[in-house]
């Protein structure tokens, strides 16, 4: 198992290098000049040249890349052109926010999606199944911004139960922190719950047809044990894989949801950075996101192996 993970980690290195090259190249291809954006109204050629020199923008591209990647390897993602702050610090301050939001969303998604999927598979073809499917479809189709605004209107404005926006760090006041994140996590979670539910349902339907389910029934086991212990255990693999990949997407940020609830997370930072042509920030964020994705893929693969005795031995 450990050697498997080590092997997978090695394989992901070329992927990361490729991603870093793409990220860097993309920035070069984008229209717009960061120096112009930085200089603002005061555009005398001398200032522009000085700024270009300062940020090494006159060097050949490959040198710029090597300088950047060399810094990244030492934990230095460069400085934000906009704020002058180190990008690494900016990311470090946003990452906990985004991870907290992602974890809470995933908990919502799993708590709603997986039981709903199991129930609708067991009750296939009944009213319960149809209702669960319609609810899931609605969850997929409802835009997050609409659901978010509706929740703010009802829960915060009318009933005044939860704060409408803002962010409190988990370390400062855990309870208040969770309270402020409850609604955005729910909004993100419902959309994911729908895909988790559909996957759980189809996976369970496949497993419930297997011969060993009949064997479990022939042993006289109760329906609950048959469904949970024998069927769900085997149906779990694709669901866990999907959940890990969805979690990777959550790390990339939920721009709209973060905007609506004014959460200072990744998504908001990326949007601001793109508008400001803040290359160093965009590059740093995209690279960290890609690493998050690769990590989640690894988690999905590891889970796949752990859940399959056949692979665990080999």
């Amino acid at each position: 198992m450990l050697s498997y993970i080590a092997r997978r980690l090695l394989v992901s290195i070329p992927t990361l290098i490729l991603v870093s090259i793409f990220v860097f190249a993309l920035q070069q291809l984008l229209p717009g000049d960061p120096v112009l954006a930085l200089a603002g109204e005061d555009r005398d050629p001398e200032t522009l040249d000085r700024l270009r020199e300062l940020y090494h923008l006159n060097d050949p591209i490959w040198m710029q890349y090597l300088r950047w990647i060399g810094g990244v390897l030492q934990g230095d993602f460069g400085q934000s052109i906009r704020t002058g702050l180190p990008v690494a610090d900016m990311i470090a301050s946003k990452l906990p926010v985004t991870i907290q939001l992602a974890v809470m969303s995933m908990i919502f998604a799993a708590l709603i999606g997986i039981p709903a999927g199991i129930i609708s598979a067991v009750k296939k073809g009944t009213i319960t199944d149809y209702v669960a499917n319609i609810v899931a479809l609605s969850g997929l189709s409802l835009p997050n911004f609409w659901l978010g605004i509706m929740l703010i209107l009802l829960v915060s404005v009318r009933w005044q139960l939860l704060p409408a926006s803002g962010y409190v760090p988990l370390t400062e006041d855990p309870l208040q922190s969770i309270r402020t994140m409850l609604m955005p996590a729910f909004v993100l979670g419902t959309a994911l719950a729908a895909s988790l539910m559909r996957h759980t349902r189809s996976s369970m339907l496949g497993v419930l047809r297997q011969d060993y389910i009949r064997t479990a029934r022939a042993k006289g086991l109760g329906e609950r044990t048959v469904v949970m212990h024998h069927a769900f255990r085997n149906a779990l693999t694709p669901v866990v894989t999907l959940a890990a990949l969805l979690f990777g997407e959550l790390i990339a940020g939920a721009v709209l949801t973060e905007q609506i609830f004014t959460i200072p997370g990744f998504g908001k930072m990326v949007v601001d950075a793109v508008f400001n042509r803040d290359y160093a920030v965009v590059q740093g964020v995209v690279l960290v996101t890609a690493m998050g994705f690769i990590l989640m893929n690894l988690v999905a693969d590891a889970a796949y192996v752990m859940l399959n005795p056949r692979l665990k031995a080999g």
Binding site: T215, A218, L221, H230, R233, N234, R310
Partner: protein, 343 residues
Amino acid sequence: MHSEPILNWFTRWGRAVTRADELISLTDLTIRVPGYERPLVDGVGLSIRRGETLCVVGESGCGKSLTSLALIGLLPPALQRGVSGQLGFDGDRIALDDQRGLSRLRGRNVGMIFQEPMSSLNPAHRIGEQIAEAWRRHNPGDGQAQAVEMLRRVGIPAPERRMRDYPHQLSGGMRQRVMIAMALVNSPDLLIADEPTTALDVTIQAQILELIGSLQAGGEMGVMLITHDLGVVAEVATNVAVMYAGRVVESGPVEAIFGDPQHPYTIGLMSSVPALRGPRTRLASVPGIVPSIETMPPGCRFATRCPFAQPRCADTPPSAEIAPGHSVACHFAPLDERLAGAA
């Protein structure tokens, strides 16, 4: 691996039955499918006494497996809704549409093994756990000791170590042994074996049949063995029920079925077995195919393939007992010499 020599096994299977009390009796099992006039399984009756082996034989699709699944309430839901009939079990009477009543028998009074050992074990759980779970469901204790003991009894070497194996680590024959251990861990009154050897190599087939026989010997367990292998029937059966297109057409002691078959279908089935001795002739077969649920004729369901069919075969023939324990569902039973000769 052989716990007993093969020769002993034959005598044990065929041993005289001393206790003759009836263990199960199935009466009038009928399975209807919505939208079709004629039932899929029609008025099937079977009975098994303690220590006996009943072999249910017939072509694929004749309703053998459906009958066995109906017995323990494990039919697919769509068919389960169309079930009627009665099950007498050790003196109790249970309606075959009474899911709760039948589920109480499963695992404790009735054990079942299936045709596909490769897919009948849960791939995600250790085999020891799968056996112990069957014990725990019906008894106090964790069942670990009982699982080891059962693995030992079904002839799996180093059972303590094998307990921790997953199904994919075992061969087909070994898996079927594990299935048997699982089915018998609660010492059921009845073992239903639905073509337990069809998916196995010939040499393994004999071992598995021998194993079932040895586990039955000395006990009071009844066995219902579903098979289409007449060689197996001749070796292990006490009684035989021949099924055709959802009905039992002939049933009786194995000697009577092999020595004095009465129903034209049974006669055809017997003559389709190749003989090792004697002149080589073209292998006899029953011409035609089993009618499907759409093409099922009224009256005798074998009439479309029967060489002796007459107009009156359009009426359903009653099952008549022509000798003690030997029943035939044919208008012309017992066959007269002339007809028997022609067959």
